[in-house]
């Protein structure tokens, strides 16, 4: 589950999920809703990102999706395979080649948070510069 919290000049994404992997899937869904536009042939991309901590890994993940939408016009729709290990994420992202809105300038570290466990659930917060 995700929701957007609107600030004066940026967008804050809040995510609640049952597992850490689901946090990354929710982040993709949120971004897809934000930039998705147009329609076109199906498209898939392998994504691999690494970071020093998992909150930063979430930033890297979203940054990669922003990059793919800007350079390859990928509107992401789902994760076909996700492998999450210490400081590393590998995934196959499926979607279509559309006309994604170039709305997101960058994914920031402002108020960045990712915490939780599989019993109590996971929460994340990330702020986008738009």
């Amino acid at each position: 589950m995700f929701r957007w919290v609107d600030h004066t000049s940026e967008l804050e994404l809040e995510i609640e999920a049952a597992s850490e992997a689901a946090v990354f899937a929710e982040a993709l869904a949120a971004l897809a809703g934000l930039v998705g536009d147009g329609d076109g042939p199906p498209m898939a991309r392998e994504v691999e990102v690494a970071a020093e901590d998992h909150a930063l890994l979430l930033v890297e993940w979203l940054s990669e999706l922003v990059y793919l939408s800007e350079l390859e016009e990928l509107v992401p729709e789902r994760i076909a395979a996700l492998e999450l290990s210490e400081g590393r994420l590998r995934a196959t992202v499926e979607g279509y080649r559309g006309r994604p809105r170039h709305l997101v300038k960058a994914v920031t570290l402002h108020r960045l948070e990712l915490s939780g466990d599989d019993d109590a659930g996971w929460r994340a917060r990330v702020v986008l510069d738009v």
């Binding site: 957007w4 609107d6 600030h7 004066t8 000049s9 940026e10 967008l11 020093e52 930063l56 930033v59 940054s63 990059y67 800007e70 350079l71 016009e73 809105r101 170039h102 709305l103 300038k105 960058a106 994914v107 920031t108 570290l109 402002h110 108020r111 960045l112 702020v127 510069d129 738009v130």
Partner: protein, 470 residues
């Protein structure tokens, strides 16, 4: 809220003692009414966070158009002492050298007459809006290196370069400090406007406040002007992204602890700091080349609609950056001045400004929100005394984009603007609504405050007659 005390008619301060981690005070230029707006979001807390940066001197400053950002507030100025003080990529922002350029046509609004709509249309054809990866001029490999090193030098008129802050080229740029990904994002974007609040606006000089200075700037009542607002596009966004990450990782090594991770910084003279400054200069040069390419597009539109003679007579008044960090001297000390949503505003006598303007001060352009007036200001001595040579940069957002969209539909806004005689071209009604005039603070009040504070003075007021939105 922290203890704000009034230092002057339009100057307020949170003393450094307000928080254990503040190294200098946080100061805000505002009247009581703007201050009330400012206190409604997190700008002041963010400004106090800026006051904790290692090496910061004087005060962390907020202009009257300040609003909450991420890390630094937008409308903030912070100077750090070199060589030990830090550089913070977040203190420049993602859109490195976002800025504005003003062109003046040798034409009055009456002379333009019914060709106005055609001119707006031709500008929209010449300057790709929204965002696209291949719509702009392609620059790759060595051609892109040339732009990163030297800005628009190889394709701009000399008189345009002369009338550009830093002559459109920050020294010390190193293309090798710019990642391959940043280069890819920027490669096809030269001459494109981008989205969000970027625009090209056709205007009429509505009012002159200072005849002598307006004359020096070549501006007269009823003259047609074009204001260009854009930046370094995806290339700059990626440079900032890359270096925020690199500094976030390096901070522990330098023993730097900050209240907000987005303020990530490193000593300016460290390997990370030097490398960022080289990449930032390259991105700034790219942004000046971008606004030059847009200006070329505007001139070609002018040529098609009004003839080559009018295009040749379309002069550049000036071009200013409002997201950049620059090395400047204050009281014999070398400082790195971060301006994030703030404009350099050097007064008369400064050797940094074109000879033609040296008796009147540097031009500064303050875009209003879409459909409202913009202002031409001139730098005043107070800017040097109080604000590290800086003034405001715009109206400043008041409402979030969603809140703006809730208030009005893009199609209705388009109709309202056209009823007021403003020709609108925008790829997206949604994007148009997000930039509705009421989403911004009152620009007239903002410029009145910087004038009362002695940072800059009003020279001319420009009213929109056509707008091409990003």
């Amino acid at each position: 809220m922290s203890e704000l005390r009034q230092l002057g008619e339009v100057l307020w301060e949170v003393p450094a003692a307000a928080r254990a981690d503040m190294r200098v005070p946080a100061r805000v230029f505002a009247d009581a009414e703007l201050l009330a707006t400012i206190e409604r979001d997190a700008s002041l807390e963010q400004l106090e966070n800026v006051a904790t940066l290692p090496g910061i001197v004087g005060a962390a400053l907020a202009m009257p158009d300040v609003h909450q950002g991420y890390g630094f507030p937008v409308g903030g100025v912070a100077a750090t002492a070199l060589p030990d003080g830090v550089v913070s990529p977040g203190g420049v922002g993602y859109d490195i050298n976002c800025g504005v350029r003003l062109l003046a046509l040798p034409t009055t609004e009456a002379e333009l007459g019914k060709r106005r709509e055609a001119l707006v249309h031709e500008i929209s054809r010449s300057v790709p809006a929204g965002a696209g990866k291949t719509k702009g001029r392609a620059r790759r490999g060595r051609e892109l290196d040339e732009v990163l090193l030297n800005g628009p030098r190889d394709f701009a008129r000399d008189e345009d370069l002369e009338r550009t802050e830093s002559r459109g080229r920050l020294p010390g740029a190193d293309p090798d400090a710019v990642s391959e990904r940043a280069r890819e994002r920027g490669a096809g974007q030269l001459g494109t406007m981008g989205s969000g609040n970027h625009f090209v606006e056709l205007q009429r000089v509505e009012r002159i406040f200072d005849e002598a200075t307006a004359d020096a700037y070549g501006l007269a009542r009823d003259q047609v002007t074009v204001l260009i607002h854009s930046g370094s596009r995806g290339l700059g966004h990626q440079v900032c992204t890359d270096y925020v990450k690199r500094m976030d990782s390096a901070m522990r090594r330098y023993g730097i602890e900050l209240p907000d991770r987005q303020l990530a910084c490193a000593p300016a003279d460290s390997p990370e700091g030097r490398s960022y400054l080289e990449a930032m200069a390259a991105a700034a040069n790219f942004a000046w080349a971008n606004r030059q390419a847009i200006a070329d597009g505007v001139r070609s539109a002018v040529a098609r609609v009004l003839g080559q003679g009018t295009a040749d007579g379309t002069r550049q008044v000036y071009d200013v950056a409002h997201n950049v960090a620059k090395v400047e001297q204050y009281d014999g000390q070398e400082l790195l001045v971060h301006r994030k949503g703030a404009t350099r505003a050097f007064p008369a006598g400064s050797s940094e400004i074109p000879a033609a303007y040296r008796d009147v001060g540097q031009p500064v352009f303050i875009p209003g929100s879409m459909g409202t007036s913009s202002f031409v200001l001139a730098g005043e001595p107070g800017a040097l005394e109080l604000a590290f040579g800086s003034t405001c940069h715009g109206a400043g957002r008041r409402l979030s984009r969603t809140a703006a969209r809730k208030e009005i539909h893009g199609a209705d806004l388009r109709r309202q603007l056209e009823e007021r005689g403003i020709v609108v071209r925008s790829p997206s009604n949604k994007g148009l609504a997000e930039e509705a005039p009421f989403a911004y603070k009152d620009v007239e009040r903002v410029v009145e405050i910087v004038e009362r504070a002695g940072l800059s003075r009003r020279v001319a007021q420009l009213t929109p007659i056509g707008v091409v939105k990003g």
